[in-house]
């Protein structure tokens, strides 16, 4: 008698994969909100910078005291979280896939919420290492588990529209900062007094709220029953050119050239986007001195964030119709033209063209994140797509270092060599455009996975995974 049946030993635990399988009448449209419950929380990472300045004045209150933390020390919190995100998604991807989404999402909630609480303790006793451990390590694990688990589940529920489904969840990750940023500012204002900055209290509230929100998602999420397919959808009997109906084991996928080509496709697309995303405010003010004010630049960043979020849903949905490979061709070809246009827009003093270029570029940056899980599903099948996606997220970690370094260092090199600030970004734009050409070529070389990499059908059944 297996663990999936009623016995004297009782039922499998609430978090067990078998208890997550949907019963009759369950609507798959309940799963995107469950996924959003998690992604709308963990995407808070994009808004973490709102704590940076207040955390440099925890002792001095009105200005930084000598014992206060420096911005350079605080910058490590986010960096550690992103690195741990990639590592945990890669290392624990198989555990996520085989244990089911509820266990992974519930664990992600404990880690992410718990990370805030440990960090709050670190802030209270003014110990930066506790903050690194809390938000960086514990929160980073929550980020990694919470990122891949709902995405993989949505792919299984929406075999007819995997791009749209993953686009919805990953759109939530992009949109989370819209909630986290004003909420964090409001909470800090509420808890602050003339002699105290309320960051620790804010962390406690956020930790509890995020934990509850993510656990709701874990409670709602379901896996489709074995053999389930949406009404009217006929499972293709044979694989199409670049869309397989079979499955590749996670560690076997890492041995294929297709995985590494997609890794570079994602890395290059993200490098180009992340490089300008972090510098958008400064860039707009330096390229249009006197015309783009500080508050207008903040508005520009907000506008880009909206396109970042919207692009995730839009481009991933488009990929269901034109195919993943063609979608990335659009990203790289159109991106190349737009990056090359930015210096022209700056030279001509055309703010509207500049804004338009960047909004489309950033929509494709977000679109790259949202389309890639469906690309993996097409190439490697659904069975281990979450675990493979986990490994692919290391491309994000690499791009997170490469993109800002490229933009910052090349700009500084130009300024040091006497290039006016208004033109200091021109070379950077051309280099980023060249990266997109490299991405285009990587995408071009992607072919169907060789027959020898696929799992035997009974091998997957042996691990008890129907989908």
């Amino acid at each position: 008698m297996g663990a999936t049946t009623l016995s004297h030993r009782g039922m499998p635990g609430l978090l067990h994969r078998d208890r997550t399988v949907a019963g009759p009448g369950f609507s798959r449209w309940m799963v995107p909100p469950a996924a959003l419950c998690v992604h709308l929380c963990i995407g808070e990472a994009y808004a973490f910078s709102v704590f940076n300045l207040p955390m440099t004045k925890l002792i001095g209150i009105t200005k930084s005291a000598p014992d206060d933390w420096k911005l350079t020390e605080l910058g490590w919190i986010f960096s550690i979280a992103i690195v741990v995100l990639g590592l945990s998604a890669a290392v624990m991807g198989r555990w996520v896939e085989e244990g089911g989404p509820r266990r992974a999402m519930a664990t992600a909630g404990v880690c992410f919420g718990g990370g805030f609480l440990v960090s709050a303790l670190g802030i209270s006793v003014h110990n930066i290492w506790l903050v690194y451990l809390g938000y960086g390590v514990l929160g980073g694990i929550g980020l990694g588990l919470g990122y891949i688990s709902p995405v993989s589940t949505l792919i299984k529920w929406f075999p007819d529209r995997p791009g749209m489904a993953t686009g919805m969840a990953i759109m939530g990750f992009g949109g989370a900062a819209f909630i986290a940023s004003p909420l964090s500012v409001a909470l800090m204002r509420y808890f602050s007094t003339p002699t105290h900055i309320g960051v620790a209290e804010t962390f406690v509230v956020l930790g509890i709220v995020y934990f509850c929100f993510m656990e709701v998602g874990a409670a709602v999420v379901r896996l489709p029953p074995p053999g389930w397919a949406p009404a009217g959808y006929v499972v293709p009997a044979q694989s199409k050119k670049l869309v397989t109906t079979r499955h590749v084991f996670v560690y076997q996928a890492l041995k294929t050239p297709q995985f590494w080509l997609i890794w570079f496709v994602l890395c290059l697309n993200v490098t180009a986007g992340i490089g300008v995303l972090g510098q958008a405010s400064a860039m707009s003010q330096e390229m249009f001195p006197g015309r783009v004010t500080v508050s207008a630049a903040a508005g520009f960043v907000g506008l880009m964030s909206l396109f970042n979020m919207g692009g995730r849903f839009f481009w991933a949905s488009v990929s269901d119709f034109i195919g993943r490979k063609n979608t990335y061709f659009v990203f790289f070809a159109l991106g190349f033209v737009l990056y090359a246009l930015v210096p022209l827009a700056g030279g001509a003093g055309n703010v509207a063209l500049f804004v338009l270029c960047f909004c489309i570029i950033i929509s494709m940056y977000g679109g790259g994140f949202a389309t890639v899980p469906a690309y993996l599903k097409d190439m490697f099948g659904t069975r281990y797509v979450g675990a493979i996606h986990g490994w692919l997220l290391t491309a994000w970690s690499a791009a997170g270092v490469l993109g800002p370094v490229l933009v910052n260092y090349i700009r500084q090199y130009n300024v040091d060599n006497g290039v006016p600030k208004a033109q200091a970004y021109n070379n950077t734009m051309y280099i980023l455009a060249a990266l997109l050409v490299a991405g285009f070529l990587c995408n071009l070389f992607i072919r169907a996975v060789h027959e020898r990499h696929y799992m035997a059908e009974d091998a997957a059944d042996a691990v008890g995974m129907a989908n």
């Binding site: 499998p12 208890r19 019963g23 939530g172 949109g175 909630i179 508050s295 508005g299 909206l306």
Partner: protein
């Protein structure tokens, strides 16, 4: 196994509650951001 699971089907109310639970905070955040982004055009 199936007997051990929640067997009741999804009703429209479930869907409204689930989407509202995530949609309302997201809509609030988007509106806040749009209001800030408008400054770009002022």
């Amino acid at each position: 196994m199936m007997a051990a699971q929640a067997q009741h089907g999804t009703t429209p109310l479930h869907l409204i509650l689930a989407w509202g639970f995530v949609g309302i905070p997201l809509a609030w955040g988007v509106i806040e951001t749009v209001l800030n982004a408008i400054k770009l055009f002022q």
